[in-house]
């Protein structure tokens, strides 16, 4: 019984460290909130689109951080959920259903079912096998998308219009879409923050540290891990809905295993197990890719080695360098 009392107790963090841990996310979100005002000075639509994509990537990466950073579940098929979200919007839209809430609801429902089923099977395995089986489920969905000949197959599908909100075409405005993405990113951040800080989150972290001990004191790891897997999958599907709207196009490429690899790279780059690290990682990742692609079409020649160097030498990622302890 002592253990559960312990789990419910607030974290014993030094006040200084605590305020520092809050400062960084606060700065990040303040920057995002104010950026459209500053963007007027530069190439506005370009900056808005780039930062909107950064926030969408951050949303997917943050949900993966719940799995990898807090649950030690290295999922290599997370892009599949982004694909589910994107295709929910596109397929419904191609049938004339453009209501954003219907599309979002469908995406959440489908991703819930997919996460529940694949998670229930995947979580029976451990370690390397878990990485591989999530990878395989991701590929399964990818191949399904490529074989949907009615919805573009390999080539993908263009949206006839962005989602309607309350019947209005307000999302056509890039600034509105920007703030919708911002709102959802902030909402997901606050939600995941509270999930992580809750009793559930503490149990999850306990399982990460030592599943055997957690089981011995009476927690069934499987149920907690599966719940986290479903939450993460559904948030990634939301990011897919936004991605489809931002690009006004979907393709199976959203769900390739390389995209899943990118998502892992993003959270390792930004600092694993900190949530806001995913946002910083997404920003650095996208800006780096954007910058390098301006100089050479062979930017991957520089990108690959950077990834290797980050893994070999920069443990803790950028968040670690900035001094915020997860």
């Amino acid at each position: 019984m002592n253990q559960s009392i312990d789990l419910d107790a607030p974290a014993l963090a030094a006040p200084a460290r605590r305020s520092r841990a809050f400062a960084l996310p606060l700065i990040v979100f303040a920057l995002f909130a104010l950026l459209p005002l500053a963007a007027v000075l530069g190439p506005q639509s370009f900056i808005l689109a780039l930062v909107t994509r950064i926030m969408i990537l951050a949303l997917a990466a943050m949900s993966l951080d719940l799995l990898i950073g807090y649950g030690a579940m290295i999922s290599f098929g997370h892009a599949a959920f982004v694909g589910i979200g994107a295709y929910s919007v596109a397929i419904l839209s191609s049938h004339g259903i453009n209501d954003g809430f219907v599309q979002l609801g469908t995406a959440l429902l489908v991703s819930f079912v997919f996460a529940l089923v694949t998670g229930a099977i995947s979580l029976r395995t451990k370690g390397v096998y878990f990485i591989m089986i999530t990878l395989a489920f991701g590929q399964m969905l990818f191949f399904l998308a490529t074989s949907l000949a009615a919805y573009g197959g390999d080539d993908g599908l263009s949206l006839s219009s962005r989602s309607l909100l309350f019947g209005s075409k307000i999302l056509k405005n890039d600034t509105v879409l920007y703030y919708v993405c911002f709102g959802l990113l902030l909402g997901a951040y606050l939600l995941l923050r509270s999930v992580v800080a809750s009793r559930f989150g503490r149990v999850l972290r306990g399982i990460r540290e030592n599943p055997v001990r957690m089981e011995a004191i009476g927690f069934a790891p499987y149920r907690y891990q599966l719940t986290a897997y479903v939450i993460a999958g559904m948030i990634a599907a939301v990011s897919g809905c936004l991605l489809a709207n931002q690009a006004e196009f979907v393709s199976p490429a959203y769900a390739t295993w390389q995209r899943s690899g990118d998502l892992i790279f993003v959270i390792v780059l930004g600092g694993i197990g900190s949530l806001h690290g995913a946002i910083i990682g997404a920003a650095v990742f996208s800006l780096l890719a954007e910058l390098l692609s301006h100089y050479t079409e062979h930017w991957a020649l520089i990108f690959g080695p950077i990834l290797i160097l980050v893994v070999l030498f920069a443990r803790g990622g950028i968040g670690g360098l900035l001094g915020s302890k997860p």
Binding site: T118, V128, S147, G304, V311
Partner: protein, 306 residues
Amino acid sequence: MTLTLAFVQILNGLQFGLILFLIAAGLTLVFGVMDFINLAHGVQYMVGAYLVAAFTAMTGSFVAGLALALPTALIFGLLLELLIFRHLYDRSHLDQVLATFGVIIFLNQAVKFIWGAAPLSVPIPDALSGAVEIADGMLYPVYRLVIIAVGLAVGLALYLIVNKTKLGMLVRAGASNAAMVSALGVNIRFLFTIVFGVGAMLAGFAGAMVAPILSVEPGMGDNVLILAFVVIVIGGIGSIRGAFIAALLIGLVDTLGRFMAPTLLKMLLDPAAASQIGRAIAPMLIYILMAAVLFFRPSGLFPSKS
């Protein structure tokens, strides 16, 4: 007629399965002995194909090209091990996955940089370019039969080495308990370098063998890598026997699935819907198979660690 068609598909599946085995063999041993996830194993296959394309163009002979490509693929694999992978053995699986992912990104772009994005083609050697009649009016290319024969021969050689020699004994022991083998005075790092080199060369060999029948292009190793992972996970990590059986299973299920799913569904649905759904289901079959195997046996069919 349908029977001979099915026979041709079985031969195709066998050939595909044996190629997968050549790739998966090295992967499963590297995995088993060092507990090291090497995503970059697929690029070894691509590098093998590119090397044979380059050397064949240079020498004008496929055999000479192959003879030059194999040692080069070996050296290339050992170089990667020395420069990057060696620093990852003591790291977490996450670090290994990411760093080797970086190697993939780099090498896919590097071959594009050197040889261009357009696919290269390698001519089938003249002596093997014919076809044999395997049934009435049904021709089958000699070269594909050669791949099957070579794949079986390499499989047999690997089986003998792993099961009948001292080196093979150490490799099996390493796969089941590396720390214990090391404690008994075996230089496990050196053993691993050998295993890694041979694995890299086998993957390169697989790439070289399929170069004349597939197009050689950047990223060609990526999908094969995933299939190789499916193979070793189904077979049980660290088990050559498991990899062999699983590779043939995957090769046959995938090939026959694509061939038969639309046909079988036609009995239940109207033809248009059947071919549509059949084509959607066929590529998913092997992943469903993998999920089913792991559901009942979470460590694969022939786990090498007890």
